[in-house]
Symmetry: C2
Subunit: 316 residues, 2 copies
């Protein structure tokens, strides 16, 4: 399969690269690494994203070349859809992009539905960035520093800086090669992890006031109310990473972030460590995800929601 | 030099391994990896530390074998001092340990004073764990899973999970080999980073109330007062990592943690990103460290201390 993808790349002249809405570092780093390679190979290339690049990823080399409108998809020989388990994840232009003669999908999600025939899928890869690393090596293409920076950023954002279970020896060897060829681990980590809005810490201060640690049931949680958002001048996007905080406590296995999205309406993000299965908890309330990371929506006052959750955890 | 160290290891029969007081993951992981190798080689070995192992590192394989008292150092053929730039860093038994016939020092600190003749020093290595990895490979010793776990923990704690500037391609290749041979990145990271006392988050909530962000001078700070420690039931050890929080804000280049150690007496921990030089600031007030991490002590009320610091930063 990989040789057919390489053939399509070699034969095509005009390319559209895209990824999913709600962009993350893996989607963006992968898009831009591929863009830079195709450009160096003398191809015509565009990167199209429905959403704008979050501030923390604007440092990625070539980011300023991303476009947010497309017309006339017939002009492209090949469409490359990255980090998407389903074509619909591309957003409003999914159907349009589906019309491109030759589609290639490169992805690492377990849930991938195989929406096109040319594909490079590996649910054991840490990231789409790691898959692109393999593809580029297979092509014997000499990676520039900018390509390495993009792939390195892709890998660290999808592995939590090599902390998640998706991290393998292959991931670390790929990262080593990227650093050998010019990626700067400290500079990239600084850009990705130390680039928050000041309101995030104001919101965190308020969220920590709600910290509850149920050591008996090994559940820790934080609540972000609409009042807290208002007072901090924040939006719910600023809660990124809050869910990981309660589980930094020894003995806590399940970490929950309750964000209020309306009167008596909460979104729950659940994370677990060790063997606790939060997917089962989320499913009980109509949500889903996987063992270590799931989410669901619940209605009611926060105290009754919390006790329903504790009950569900006890029944695990 | 490395061949002389290997010779000393092969010839010796009885070994004492030690490291510095105020133990960290690099000191402990390195000690225990070396201990396990020497045991497998059929040697008599003890690991001696003055301090007890912090809770977060008690998961390290063979940790329960560490001893905290020594007598009769004449019984040891070789003493191996790890992660110490100076023999005195070992603590109260330094002089005693200095009497062991053959001393070996393996260390990566720039400030190493070369206190013994047999040494393996490299200030460009991320960690003593990385140096031991090189030594063990050079000996062609087949690393067990437990040795790999110890070395992996050593490397991640000294690189902030591959985020600090000390991270090189060699560091990542070593980590990849350790994972290939059995180290589990997620399990180790969970133990190291998600193993805090519950009071730490209570203290963090209080510290965040003091957050100050001076965007003009790019300085962010937190204050931990004795009152906050008392109210949270915490001690100043629980402030570990707090200094890194203000610099997660976009535009902040210098991060300062003020911890009150007495009436009108504060310890300052300073961190920087990008090109800001906090060593210069700390030196102005009789402290020291290096460009990106320094500390000093100051007397006075917190507001006057803060304005002295801002003045020093402006003069950089």
């Amino acid at each position: 399969m990989i040789s057919e993808i390489i053939e399509a790349i070699n034969e095509g002249q005009s390319f559209l690269i895209t990824a999913h809405v709600r962009l993350d570092g893996d989607a963006l780093g992968s898009e831009l690494a591929l863009y830079l390679m195709l450009r160096e190979l003398g191809k015509n290339v565009v990167v199209y994203n429905q959403d704008h690049t979050p501030e923390r990823y604007r440092f990625l080399p070539a980011e300023q070349n991303i476009i947010h409108n497309i017309s006339n998809v017939e002009q492209y020989d090949v469409g490359i859809v990255l980090d998407c388990s389903d074509l619909a994840r591309v957003g409003d232009e999914a159907e349009n992009i589906g019309k491109i003669k030759k589609l290639i999908n490169i992805d690492h999600h377990v849930s991938n539905n195989g929406f096109c025939s040319l594909k490079m899928l590996d649910a054991h890869a840490s990231s789409t960035g790691e898959l692109l690393f393999r593809l580029i090596r297979e092509m014997r293409f000499k990676m520039s520093k900018d390509i390495c920076t993009n792939l390195y950023a892709a890998i660290i954002t999808d592995t939590g800086s090599f902390r998640y279970s998706s991290t393998t020896n292959e991931t670390l060897f790929a990262a080593g090669t990227l650093v050998e060829n010019g990626a700067d681990p400290q500079w990239i980590a600084e850009n990705v992890y130390e680039n928050d809005s000041p309101v995030r810490l104001k919101l965190l201060a308020k969220a920590l006031e709600t910290l509850s640690l149920d050591m008996k049931n090994k559940v820790g949680s934080l609540v972000v109310t609409q009042k807290a958002l208002l007072e901090a001048g924040a939006s719910w996007e600023h809660t990124e990473g809050f869910v990981d905080i309660p589980r930094t406590v020894r003995g806590i296995e399940i970490s929950i972030l309750y964000t209020q999205r309306g009167d008596n309406h909460f979104k729950l993000s659940l994370r677990s460590k060790a063997k606790a299965n939060v997917e089962k908890v989320a499913k009980k309330f109509g949500g889903g995800g996987h063992i270590h990371a799931s989410s669901c929506w619940m209605k009611g006052d926060i105290e009754s929601i919390k006790s329903q959750i504790i009950k569900a955890v006890r029944e695990l």
